[in-house]
């Protein structure tokens, strides 16, 4: 009786073996060098104006229950990197982040600086905070400029 069962048993074992060979297991998959690829959650999208470390007013959208709500200032402000200083013309060339208050994207440009502002402590390559206001000629002029805190 066992002998009669043997042939179908052998056939089923053979076919199972074949099927098992066709579906590769993890070792075969690894040999195919399918490297696990990380899931990209995507870019950040438009960013808010750069945060000022000295406690300047955060823009109204960025709020969470543990952040302090400041009274908003009306000046536009930002945090930038100084590229070059022109003491003769009392100008600075700056790279700044987008300033939504006045609808400006991130830019690198020259800025006239209010005459009363001392440019001597401002070094190229440093990060600074500044506020700007539209001056007489309709051009924006830097009103105040201070080094950004926590330099590393």
């Amino acid at each position: 009786m066992i002998a009669r069962l043997y042939r179908p048993l052998l056939m089923s074992l053979l076919s199972s073996a074949l099927i098992a060979c066709i579906n590769p297991g993890p070792t075969t998959a690894e040999e195919d060098a399918t490297v696990p690829i990380g899931i990209d959650l995507g870019g950040s999208g438009p960013v808010i104006a750069a945060a000022a470390p000295e406690g300047h007013a955060p823009p109204s959208q960025h709020r969470s229950d543990m952040q302090m709500a400041h009274e908003g200032h009306d000046d536009a402000h930002g945090t930038v990197t100084v590229n070059s200083v022109d003491p003769a013309q009392h100008k600075l060339n700056l790279s700044h982040n987008p300033i939504p208050e006045i609808g400006w994207p991130a830019m690198t440009m020259d800025f006239a600086v209010k005459p009363s502002v001392d440019l001597k402590p401002i070094k190229p390559g440093s990060r600074v905070n500044f506020t700007i206001e539209k001056g007489q000629g309709g051009m924006y002029e830097i009103q105040t400029i201070t080094p950004a805190g926590g330099s590393r």
């Binding site: 073996a17 993890p26 690829i37 999208g45 945060a51 229950d65």
Partner: protein
């Protein structure tokens, strides 16, 4: 063949048998499809309604298969993508044979939604479904894991990414979760049992005759003998870095062992955000990417003033979000070595799949010093480290060459009264005589010349929301007996102590003194821990604070949400052997 084997099948010819044997043999070699654990791709679940099923899943690490505890069929659990401001519903079904739970680490929820069995709720019984419902009022990178027995060790951990309502402060083009964890094929109950019998069971870096001779050659025989006698008298070993090591652990990055080469793709010039989460049970990692400085922008889900470093130490349960900007068309290795240098997790940042960069050799193994024993530390302020405007970020490297006995100001080695009471107790093997503030130090084990992040570097972008000074202090000693493998607070295990009571609305200061010579990442559920690290009102908001050996630090807490909150060391086997307390806000 001399002897003829007896076949039970008399009509079988020899040729048929060999064919059959070959088939059976092939079957043995061929992988059995039903038991195959395919490397399941991680999934991301978003929206406001979630259905999570906790179940046994098959996990393969380095070709060896085991049964792990997964969610929705995968380890690590799916990435949950939430939005700040949404109200979420998460139905969690337990298909295990034992109770389970899910705790949303760092996410502030009402107390019944916090997921700690015995404090928040009864746990999720086998077959049961528990529906979590809570509003999300924060953003950043967090994670979730089981808070039942050792399920966190067997795979129940996953990432949470909460999109900020108003957008990001720093731009980036790609965004990857980097969840670091540790995996052992030994059942976690056996790991604890081994440690209870022999606490240095997993330490294969102990001092030997060989190291004695090396030290004697380097430092002279007399000094070496004196050093051995000093540690011997205390019955402690400076080689105790991590309790469970690479002797049993494989270190994983997003559930993949180093050989699997988990890869994050980028285009040269893009800014890549890497959300590092330490979801391990017992392993502290030192993370760096050779060739790429990392700009840390968030710690524990909260924005910090960006600080660029070469390396950072991430303790269990902490998170750090960094932005890197690879400009070259080449691969970079994301290298996370265990603090005791017994293994590493490794991934690749590459422009195309299949690339890999060189894996650096592991750094030399750190050793504990007398400062770790609480004998004070050279040059830093001993005692309080309150908001004293100390210069942050001055010294990124660890304090070099801390020789015992050679320090000024060591004359007064009188321990505080409460410390004296702890000495000699069964659950206490050491009391820090002069615990010191060491937030400026990144820790031991970093070669000089690397910029390593320290807690003093973390400065919040916005000032804290509660400017009140604390009304009172809660002081706790982190204690333990390494030899017996008992851990606790103030010499007591959880079952031997009562809850810490705080009145709702209070502002308190927690002072932690680490009397042990190991790091402990201390996690308070439900409330923010504002670490006093010298930045005044810009102190960072954290949920998990790594207290170094022999260190004394403090943080402020506003008890604004009532409930029974867990407070514990996040080293899983320390927590389960007693290093746990209830903080009751009423």
């Amino acid at each position: 063949m001399s002897a003829r084997p007896v076949f039970p099948f008399p009509d079988l010819t020899r040729r048929r048998f060999i064919r059959g044997a070959a088939a059976v043999g092939a079957l043995g070699f061929a992988p059995w499809p039903l038991r195959t654990a395919l490397a399941a791709p991680a999934t991301v679940l978003s929206g406001t309604e979630f259905a999570l099923t906790i179940e046994d899943v098959s996990l393969t690490i380095n070709g060896r298969q085991a049964t792990a505890t997964g969610v929705n069929g995968q380890v690590p659990a799916p990435i949950l993508r939430w939005r700040e401001g949404d109200t979420l519903t998460l139905a969690v079904t337990n298909r295990l044979r034992e109770p389970s739970s899910i705790h949303w680490h760092g996410v502030r929820t009402p107390s019944p939604m916090d997921g700690v069995p015995g404090l928040s709720f009864r746990g999720i019984a086998p077959g049961e479904t528990y529906v979590y419902r809570f509003p999300v009022r924060q953003s950043g990178t967090y994670w979730y894991h089981s808070h039942s027995m050792f399920q966190e060790q067997t795979g129940l951990y996953g990432a949470i990414v909460i999109e900020p309502k108003g957008g990001y402060a720093q731009g980036f083009d790609r965004d990857y979760v980097v969840l670091l964890s540790d995996w052992s094929f030994e059942p976690p109950e056996r790991i604890v049992s081994n440690l209870k019998f022999q606490s240095n069971y997993y330490n294969y870096g102990q001092r030997t005759l060989g190291t004695f001779l090396d030290d004697a050659q380097r430092n002279g025989l007399a000094d070496t003998v004196a050093d051995r006698l000093e540690w011997g008298k205390m019955r402690m070993s400076p080689t105790d870095i991590l309790d469970v090591s690479g002797a049993t652990y494989a270190y994983l990055i997003n559930g993949q062992a180093p050989a699997a080469n988990w890869t994050a793709l980028f285009r040269p010039g893009e800014r890549v955000r890497l959300r590092f989460i330490n979801g391990s049970s017992m392993s502290i990692f030192d993370v760096r990417i050779d060739g790429l400085p990392m700009t840390v922008v968030q710690a524990d889900g909260n924005d910090v003033v960006p600080v660029t470093v070469d390396e950072f130490r991430i303790s269990v349960a902490e998170t750090y979000d960094v932005i890197v900007r690879p400009t070259a068309d080449r691969a970079y290795t994301i290298f996370a070595q265990a603090e005791d240098r017994t293994g590493y997790a490794r991934g690749t940042l590459a422009p195309r799949p299949g690339m890999a960069a060189a894996i650096p050799p592991m750094d030399p193994r750190p050793m504990r010093t007398m400062a770790d024993m609480g004998m004070g530390s050279m040059g830093s302020m001993s005692g309080m480290t309150m908001d004293q405007g100390s210069m942050p970020g001055m010294d990124h490297s660890s304090m070099p060459g801390m020789d015992h006995g050679a320090m000024a100001g060591m004359s007064n080695m009188e321990a505080s009264p409460e410390a004296k009471k702890l000495q000699g107790q069964v659950a206490v093997d050491n009391v820090a005589m002069m615990p010191s503030g060491r937030l400026q130090s990144a820790g031991e084990g970093f070669p000089p010349g690397r910029r390593v992040l320290s807690y003093a570097d973390l400065r919040a972008i916005k000032p804290g929301s509660d400017s009140r000074p604390p009304s009172h202090e809660i002081s706790l000693h982190l204690t333990g007996n390494m030899e017996r493998f008992i851990w606790g607070f103030d010499g007591k295990k959880f079952s031997e102590a009562g809850p810490i009571e705080i009145t709702r609305g209070d502002r308190v200061r927690f002072v932690l003194i680490n009397d042990t010579m190991m790091e402990h990442p201390i996690h308070l559920h439900g409330l923010w821990s504002e670490l006093e690290n010298g930045h005044g009102e810009f102190r960072p908001y954290k949920h998990t604070i790594n207290v170094k050996p022999g260190e004394r630090l403090s943080y402020l807490v506003t008890a604004d949400v009532p409930g029974r909150w867990a407070f514990h060391c996040h080293l899983l086997y320390h927590m389960e052997t007693g290093m746990f307390r209830e903080v009751h806000v009423a």
